[in-house]
Point group: C2
Chain length 168, copies 2
């Protein structure tokens, strides 16, 4: 009856990334329709010292794939963080989705209480897999998807909550 760790992660990240892809498609269509340089949207920031839209997609991607790699003890899947255009960002999302779809359920389920370490410039954070998902990966993933939505919504792209929630 309780929720297996795979069900708590892979399908959740997949839905979020598919919704993010649809949101970015609406951003690109809006730029084309209004004659806006698409790079002004992909480089948009909420404030000068906050990361731009491109980085929000990179961080969402990294959060999802990093969590599964750490939990499953899987090989790293490096991505270069060089995306600039909407097409680049779609490719990043597609690669992240393809990786998530390749994660074997048997490498994830039952790992709930296994220790994982998140290495950051601010030091190492130690979690169980469950607390890593609930206390870091999930909120961090949604932070970056929501911030991407916010940047495009603020720029005038016609978006609504259902674009974010998707597949409800």
């Amino acid at each position: 009856m309780a929720t297996d760790l795979y069900d708590l992660t892979v399908p959740v990240f997949l839905r979020g990334l598919r919704n993010l892809s649809a949101i970015l498609h609406k951003g690109a269509a809006y730029a084309a329709e209004k004659g806006i340089d698409p790079l002004t949207l992909t480089q948009a920031r909420l404030i000068a010292d906050m990361a731009p839209l491109t980085a929000q997609i990179q961080y969402a991607s990294d959060t999802a794939k990093g969590a599964m790699i750490r939990i499953g003890g899987l090989d790293p899947v490096p991505m270069a963080d060089t995306e600039q255009s909407f097409a680049d960002l779609q490719e990043r999302i597609e690669k992240t989705i393809a990786f998530l779809e390749s994660v074997p359920r048997e490498r994830i389920d039952g790992r709930d209480d296994a220790v994982v370490t998140l290495k950051t410039p601010r030091g190492d954070f130690t979690f169980t897999s469950r607390s890593h998902v609930l206390g870091f990966a999930m909120p961090n993933f949604y932070f970056h998807v929501t911030t991407a939505y916010a940047l495009l919504r603020q720029a005038g792209v016609p978006l609504g909550k259902m674009d974010y929630l998707g597949g409800i």
Copy 2:
């Protein structure tokens, strides 16, 4: 080993609301320090046709308490949505936290596959408790907490990701 539904919900919402409270305290302190009318912050919007900061807190509160009420078959806990000031918003968060702390684990665990219905102006959405949490309540809750963060961050309040993630 898998995750019980209570652990997937109540402590997650509690941490998010406590972090949201700390973020709002920083917003109030910033307004005081800079001589800004606090209501210009609590009424801030990302764009004219999007809900203001006050509503972001109300929606985060409603999402958390609504999910637990639906899943647990608990009595409604109406809140009037009349908050204007930072103090009002803190009180709303405190009341929501007090309710969540009162939710009995035995009314939640094991309800994973029970059907719940979300009534909205756009029609009714039917879920299992698990899909309601993973596909609606969790992303919607983080959407509103992140948007609250974004509004204050954009207004110049000194906030960083750790204010949002908190208790990592």
